[in-house]
């Protein structure tokens, strides 16, 4: 398989920039459409109703946009790990959704379980991140590294990850139960108005926090030595190994950080929705569509793709029933595969 020189990925070249410009145009178009369709909805409201709501009802398209960014950012946190794991090892980890669940469930046991330590959520979440990182390290060391050493094929590994997903999910189901639960802290909050948008403090913090986390990941990948090594291994494993990068160590770090990030995404998602034993599995297909949309194997692609998926899902409720949100997200992925299989930020290569 042909690979472009590694330098190409390190600097954002002109083609990538033009692609980003196209993408922004698309997003702007989506937003303009959203605002206009919202204006139509407003026109349908009788005059006396408008007077009754003193500040006017919150602008639905803009609120949905914020919700979309929030969900997209949470999705992106979980997706970075999956995409980097694929990039560095070639493994499609179907058990990644369970890593999301495990993070959220560990935090739940520390925070709200009746016989648990009942820690404050921030403390519980921090511990859950450490536990999840350790679990990622364990999975890599005990399972994936030995399997790769035995030269198990990638498709075999993919099916093994499906088995692992079934196994982990049923373990969580037995330990956690089938009923969805919520955390003890930050459960019910009143929405505050910021101009035309209504949002709770919790959601605002989650949205900004997730975007900050994504920024930190981007800085790490761009500036630090291990981040550059990760991108180098994802770009061309053999070349990276030949340049003296310890590939096994890089993969181990990717597993640890990826699992911890998945857990962080899981905790945020559990906070905005509910914690359940299959929450990660239900998110998995959306994570995949985000990654494929952005470009399989790249961290930035995962971020861009997931944000787009979040926006498409929330804004789709303007023109179609809410129950079809997921179908729209998956449809967008299939359409992208049709016209641009390498994804928005992916490099063109033979994939067929």
């Amino acid at each position: 398989m042909l690979h472009a020189p590694m330098v190409n990925a390190a600097t954002l070249g002109a083609p990538v920039r033009s692609r980003l410009a196209t993408l922004m145009l698309f997003v702007a178009g989506l937003l303009i459409f959203a605002v206009f369709s919202g204006a139509d909805a407003m026109a349908a409201v009788p005059d006396h109703m408008r007077v009754l709501a003193a500040a006017g009802p919150p602008n639905r398209p803009l609120t949905l946009t914020v919700q979309g960014i929030q969900f997209g950012a949470i999705l992106a946190m979980t997706a970075v790990g999956l995409s980097l794991i694929f990039g560095t090892t070639g493994l499609i980890n179907f058990a990644h959704g369970e890593l999301v669940t495990i993070g959220a469930v560990v935090a739940f046991f520390l925070n709200a379980a009746p016989h648990g330590p009942r820690l404050q959520l921030l403390v519980a979440g921090a511990i859950a991140l450490v536990v999840s990182g350790a679990f990622g390290w364990l999975l890599h060391g005990v399972m994936w590294k030995p399997l790769t050493k035995r030269k198990t094929g990638l498709i075999q590994l993919f099916i093994i990850s499906i088995g692992l997903s079934l196994l982990l999910r049923s373990v969580v189901q037995v330990l956690f139960g089938t009923d969805p639960q919520s955390y003890r802290n930050y459960r019910i909050q009143a929405a505050h108005r910021y101009g035309p948008i209504a949002i709770t403090d919790r959601d605002l913090v989650i949205t900004i926090g997730s975007l900050l986390v994504l920024l930190v990941i981007a800085l790490m990948l761009q500036r630090t030595k291990i981040g550059k090594a990760m991108r180098a291994v994802a770009d061309n494993r053999d070349l990276a190994a030949a340049s003296g990068i310890d590939v096994t160590r890089v993969v181990r770090v990717v597993w640890i950080t990826g699992t911890a990030l998945a857990a962080l995404g899981g905790i945020c998602y559990g906070l905005t929705q509910l914690v359940s034993f299959e929450m990660g599995f239900l998110l998995l297909l959306l994570i995949f569509s985000g990654i494929i949309l952005g470009g399989l194997g790249t961290a930035y692609g995962a971020m861009v793709g997931c944000l787009l998926i979040g926006l498409v899902m929330e804004l789709s409720s303007l023109w179609s029933p809410v129950e079809l949100q997921n179908a729209w997200a998956l449809l967008v992925m299939v359409l992208v595969l049709l016209v641009r299989p390498q994804g928005i930020l992916g490099r063109k290569e033979r994939i067929g």
Partner: protein, 330 residues
């Protein structure tokens, strides 16, 4: 005693309609995965359209069941065409995700509110297969030995479905040993080599997808007929995973792999489930360790564990040939 009861229940499930329907569906998957190397992870989507074709034709439009079965085959073939055009040019792992996504989209659409007039929405459709049971030549009553018995209608479903399984096996045997089948296996081994010999790889893959999809559609139709009811949530992705587990257990790329796999899978699955249930019920396993509702989850976890161990240590399954299972996407 408990063990014998569990064995009996498991035998009934394995030889019964469910085992036969899964064997039929797995034969379709064997065409995709075993012989062509297509990672179709949306096989349940073919079963879904097949089942709903029969149900909608019967319950919504009041057509005859036999028309419904023709529709089931046509719908599954159409789904294969629609799915194949965008995805068959992609690498195997992309195909896997695209197919599972397509199957889920279908499930969301079939269960949505706006489709309710046709598909019955979340509640699905029922009582559309009376024509099938009216044609039952077996006099009513129960048949079998000891406590291992089947009702006449179950026996009729079994007879037809196992008959279809036999027919499909024979058809597949002829196809796979024809020049066409050799090209399919060549594509699985090395797509570029097949292409460089002048074979139109895309066309062959598409034909394989349509054939396997149609078999999956018939399996879905038999499932609908057996249950006399369809609901969208009976077609979750887990069915595809079960099919992969039993196909790999029996041996992919083997004519009788799916049949043996289905028999063994359902025997083991129900044996574990029955045994766990009775152990929980009579208190051998205290309810503080495992409650009655968790036994299903434990059995599912065992399926997962079995899949991991099989793939890691014996990827060719029971009947398989290791040389036929060296699939590598990259």
């Amino acid at each position: 005693m408990i063990v014998w009861q569990a064995v009996e229940g498991a035998l009934r499930a394995a030889c019964g309609p469910v085992g036969a329907i899964y064997a039929l569906a797995a034969i379709g998957l064997n065409v995709h995965f075993g012989y062509t190397g297509l990672l179709n992870f949306g096989h349940v989507g073919f079963m879904l359209v097949g089942a709903y074709a029969v149900a909608v034709a019967g319950a919504t439009f009041g057509m005859s069941l036999w028309v419904g079965i023709v529709f089931a085959i046509l719908c599954a073939a159409a789904l294969a065409l629609v799915l194949g055009i965008p995805t068959l040019r992609l690498r195997a792992d992309y195909l896997a995700i695209a197919t599972i996504a397509a199957a889920e989209i279908l499930r969301y659409v079939y269960r949505s509110n706006f489709a309710e007039p046709v598909t019955g929405g979340v509640y699905g459709l029922r009582q559309f297969a009376n024509g099938f049971y009216d044609a039952n030549p077996i006099p009513s009553g129960t048949y079998g030995w000891g406590s291992l018995t089947f009702s006449a209608s179950d026996l009729w479903v079994m007879l037809v479905t196992w008959g279809l399984v036999g027919g499909c096996c024979a058809l597949l045997f002829l196809l796979i040993h024809s020049p066409w089948g050799r090209v399919l296996r060549a594509i699985r081994e090395d797509e570029d080599a097949a292409r460089s010999l002048g074979k139109n790889v895309f066309n062959y893959k598409m034909q394989s997808l349509v054939l396997g999809g149609a078999i999956g559609g018939v399996a879905g139709a038999m499932f609908a007929i057996y249950q006399q009811a369809v609901t969208p949530d009976a077609f979750k992705p887990i069915i595809t995973f079960d099919l992969y587990a039993l196909l790999i257990l029996g041996g992919a790329a083997r004519i009788f792999g799916p049949v043996l796999g289905s028999l063994l899978f359902w025997f083991l699955y129900n044996f574990c489930n029955n045994l766990l249930n009775s152990l929980v019920n009579d208190g051998t396993i205290p309810s503080s360790v495992l409650s009655g509702t968790d036994t299903g989850a434990v059995t599912l976890g065992l399926v997962g564990l079995g899949l991991i161990l099989l793939m890691a240590f014996r990827p060719q399954g029971i009947l398989g040939d290791r040389k036929e299972m060296i699939l590598d996407a990259r």
